[in-house]
């Protein structure tokens, strides 16, 4: 090679710039697909409906009549704890105490990944 022709280097340079920018755009688009999937995974993983449902039924159970031989509240609350553990794999704990005319209901939910605590007052 006696003499290197170095004309029009700009064209080469622009070629590289364009190809690299397209490469990075491709990476961004590629990641955006994965984002949709991990979002769906996270939504499926989070026990939103389990927590809402068990919270509802615990609050309902607080108002049950516990007198006589039927022992409604005792039975229902025992059933909530046992069925949560065996069917949803979650530990559910709750207690209530009355302070100065108000009653606090402490609700605790733990399925090993998600922990939820609430104090519900009426």
């Amino acid at each position: 090679m006696a003499r290197l022709n170095d004309d029009a280097q700009w064209i080469v340079l622009m070629g590289f710039v364009v190809s690299f920018s397209l490469f990075f755009l491709a990476i961004v688009l590629n990641q955006s697909v994965v984002v949709g999937q991990t979002t769906a995974e996270a939504v499926s993983e989070f026990p939103k409906d389990d927590i809402r449902s068990v919270r509802d039924v615990i609050i309902q159970s607080v108002f049950l009549d516990d007198s006589g031989t039927t022992l409604n509240r005792t039975h229902v609350q025992n059933e909530i704890q046992r069925l949560s553990l065996s069917r949803q794999g979650s530990t559910v704990n709750f207690s209530s105490n009355a302070i100065a005319g108000y009653t606090n209901v402490y609700i605790h939910y733990n399925n090993g990944v998600t922990i939820y605590n609430e104090t519900w007052t009426y």
């Binding site: 070629g15 397209l22 490469f23 068990v54 039924v57 229902v76 059933e79």
Partner: protein, 177 residues
Amino acid sequence: MVNSCGQLFTIEGIAASLIILMTAYIVVNNTSVYTPGDTHISNMQLEVMGSDALRMMDTSSNGTYGKTPLQTIIEQGDSDTFSTMFLNIVNNRTGTTRDTIQFRANVTYLMQPDYQTVNSTIFSNSSQSLIEGDHAVRVSEWVIVDKTPKDFPECPGMLSACSGKHAVLVEVLLWRD
């Protein structure tokens, strides 16, 4: 001697081929290929729809105080009404064609008389049964019923133990056929 003219055209050719490759990559990558890993997305939507349906069934009509349809269904062991109602809610679509979601519902409760043993019975089924390859999701709803449902076998003969309110868990597996 090798002629070294026209190197610029060679380099330009390489650059152009890179651009073409990248464009092809982007186009192919963006046409959605539905891999098994992506079923999370439709599973999530199915799960949301199922729990919404159960929640609707566990809401008394017009927001009045009283028994919800789901409570009545469980107390009477009315699996036909459950099936009709549930399929109606989940399969309704805009337009006249209906969706093809199938389900299998279980009711789980504590057995009489000592309330220690957990028992689960199949409560209601849709027309198709769950076969291998169906991606089913599970939704559940708590219901407090006034008595242990009449279809549950250990109840007869222990009428006193059957009375009173009990919490049962309604679990539904649902999948798109």
